[in-house]
């Protein structure tokens, strides 16, 4: 009974939080954590099936820049601009992923092709600096003093917190839907052995395309949300290879096979960066990535399931001794 109730109670507590506690800085950190958690969740939707994309920085960049450019240049409200950006990102994903899957580019090769994709997006943003501001970044124009439903610009952090919370919850919902769908079983079969999966009647290319487009669209939404909240985007913060690697890293640390893993990853990485920044000031430039890098290596060698994943595996082993008594298969994707 408590297991059923717990998520709802936690959700209610999160909704009530900004009304009880309104300090701007912690609220800002929470919004940032929620937005990145959603981005990381979007990556893990496909990443957990062995489809390691290093191109998600590209999708996020498309989401952010298309939304901002349509607003500034064409005066198109983000209510229309964000769907256009999502469609653009989905189209880009289709364009690259279809031939990849059709010609069975997997593993290393898939990671490197998608790496080229984030390289392209980054270079295009930099090269069209007359329109996008290049590496100096880009700012959507403020509308009516920066607080308008039409422009999706809000001065109040509480509003942004609730929006980010809703989107993040939506991301978790999608994750669970995928987790309980036939698509999951098809993709797990594919990640084990493509030929065997195809022989049992799984349409390998179509199933992989579905999850890739879903993941790319969600990532673009995260980019658009980040742009609307921060009101400033630059190729380094929303696009490119380092953002792609950052996503992979946070998910691996949090736990790639559990729904809240990416969120735990985002909480850990962002809090780490903030704590280092506050305690060391400007001297801390680079400290956070130093710790990230070491952690990433250690996690992959010693704890490939991530923090939350390993914790939950231990927990369920303790609750159900029978499960622990069974020979545990390494890398099992069962969620308790």
């Amino acid at each position: 009974m408590t297991r059923r109730l717990l998520p709802w109670l936690a959700g209610a507590a999160l909704v009530v939080l900004p009304f009880a506690y309104q300090a701007p800085y912690p609220l800002h950190i929470l919004v940032v954590i929620l937005i990145w958690s959603f981005a990381y969740t979007s990556w893990s939707v496909m990443g957990r099936f062995g489809l390691t994309s290093l191109g998600h920085g590209g999708f996020m960049g498309v989401g952010a820049y298309v939304t901002a450019l349509l607003w500034n240049k064409a005066g198109l409200s983000p209510w229309l601009g964000i769907p256009v950006a999502l469609a653009a990102s989905a189209a880009l994903a289709l364009l690259v992923a279809y031939p990849c899957f059709r010609f069975r580019i997997t593993g290393h090769y898939f990671a490197l092709v998608t790496l080229a994709l984030s390289g392209i997006v980054l270079q295009v943003i930099t090269a069209t600096r007359d329109h996008t501001g290049g590496s100096l970044g880009y700012t959507p124009e403020r509308y009516q003093g920066g607080s308008s439903l039409y422009a999706i610009q809000f001065g109040s952090k509480t509003t942004w917190y609730l929006i980010a919370l809703a989107v993040w919850a939506g991301g978790l919902w999608v994750w669970r839907r995928v987790d309980r769908s036939m698509l999951r079983y098809a993709l797990e079969a594919i990640s084990e052995d493509e030929d065997a999966a195809a022989a049992t009647g799984v349409h390998v290319t179509a199933e992989k395309l579905k999850i890739t487009v879903l993941s790319a669209t969600m990532t673009a939404l995260a980019g658009a949300l980040y742009c609307q909240y921060q009101m400033f985007i630059s190729p380094d913060t929303v696009s490119g290879i380092s953002v792609s690697l950052q996503m992979v890293f946070a998910v691996v640390v949090g736990g790639i096979y559990v729904s809240l893993g990416p969120t735990v990853g985002a909480v850990i990485t962002i809090l780490l960066a903030e704590i280092l920044r506050i305690s060391f000031g400007t001297r801390a430039v680079g400290y956070d990535n130093l710790v990230y890098g070491v952690l990433l290596v250690l996690f992959i060698i010693f704890l490939p399931r991530g923090i939350l994943g390993s914790f939950l595996a231990l927990w369920s082993g303790r609750l159900r001794p029978t499960a622990a008594a069974r020979p545990a298969r390494a890398g099992s994707t069962e969620t308790p």
Binding site: G50, T52, V96, P99, C100, R102, F103, R104, I105, G107, H108, Y109, A111, L112, V113, L115, A116, L117, G119, I120, Q123, V124, T126, A127, I241, S242, L245, V248, F249, V252, V285, G286, Y287, D288, N289, L290, Y292, G293, V294, L295, L296, V297, I300, I301, P304
Partner: protein
């Protein structure tokens, strides 16, 4: 028309010279991949550290350029062995993608170590190498030197691989890593030697790059991705393929940069790469059918 031809020729020549450096960059990575079957995502960061090594040895400790270069090659080679023993060796049996991600972690680590230790300022050797002027064309001396050194480096590696006993063992391991240990080849030793060799080549590339470019902690990101693409395009682990791909890429960048900004040259090269992956998924010169 005449002016255009001169520019075109200059761009073509600069493309060839850039191709030499790119070929050297991809050679080390290709060697490591071909033998150990691991992609070092942090390869460009090893080069970045080598460039810093050159900078400090030359400008701070006033070592002669050649001595600094040799020390730098050796140091990066040792660094690569440390990387292999600490990170790659424990993961040899793991999923390939985990190895890729672990070296991604090393990338973060090296980049931020450089930021913390050396700061984010751009640094250079302060050398001004002359520019060669041939019938109206300007060709950088540093690039010419880099091209020549790259060719010599590649010939030496080729001689090592084809003429020595250890070289033969390395090629054998690259062909079949499961059978060779049964034939009495100590694969762990070969892996360490290969890592050292790959690192040494990264060190050589660092010496040559630092003559032309400023060094800063994020310099690896500017040529790292292109190096991976070259290796993949030439079929990972295939030296000849990597060589050809390096020149193809360099010409695309040089010619694309001639008609527009340099970034568009890169965009063209990346797009060409993606298209080629669909046309020839196993690379330009596929080893396997």
């Amino acid at each position: 028309m005449g002016i255009l031809d001169i520019y075109l020729l200059e761009a073509l020549i600069n493309g060839v010279l850039l191709g030499g450096v790119l070929a050297l960059l991809s050679l080390g990575l290709n060697l490591v991949f071909g033998v150990i079957d691991v992609v070092w995502i942090c390869y460009a960061e090893l080069i970045m550290l080598g460039m810093y090594g050159m900078y400090f040895l030359y400008t701070v400790y006033h070592a002669p350029l050649v001595v600094a270069g040799l020390a730098c090659v050796a140091a990066v080679g040792v660094l690569a062995v440390v990387l292999h023993l600490l990170v790659i060796a424990p993961l040899l049996g793991a999923a390939p993608i985990n190895q890729l991600l672990a070296t991604g972690g090393v990338l973060f680590f090296l980049q931020s170590s450089a930021t913390v230790l050396f700061g984010i300022e751009f640094k250079n050797l302060g050398l001004r190498l002359p520019v060669l002027k041939v019938s109206g064309m300007f060709i950088s001396y540093a690039r010419l030197l880099a091209f020549a050194a790259a060719l010599i480096g590649m010939v030496l590696v080729w001689l090592f691989l084809s003429r020595t006993y250890t070289g033969a063992a390395i090629r054998a391991i690259a062909q079949d890593r499961h059978i060779m240990p049964l034939m009495g080849v100590d694969s762990r030793r070969i892996y360490v030697i290969t890592s050292a060799l790959g690192g040494g080549l990264a060190g050589l590339a660092a010496c040559l790059l630092v003559l032309q470019y400023d060094v800063h902690p994020f310099v690896g990101l500017s040529f790292g991705p292109i190096t991976f693409l070259i290796c993949v395009l030439g079929s990972l682990g295939n030296f000849a393929g990597g060589f050809v791909a390096a020149f193809v890429f360099a010409e695309i960048i040089a010619l694309g940069g001639l008609y527009s900004d340099l970034e568009w040259g890169y965009v063209l090269a990346f797009a060409f790469f993606i298209v080629m992956m669909f046309v020839r998924p196993q690379g330009l010169m596929a080893r396997r059918s």
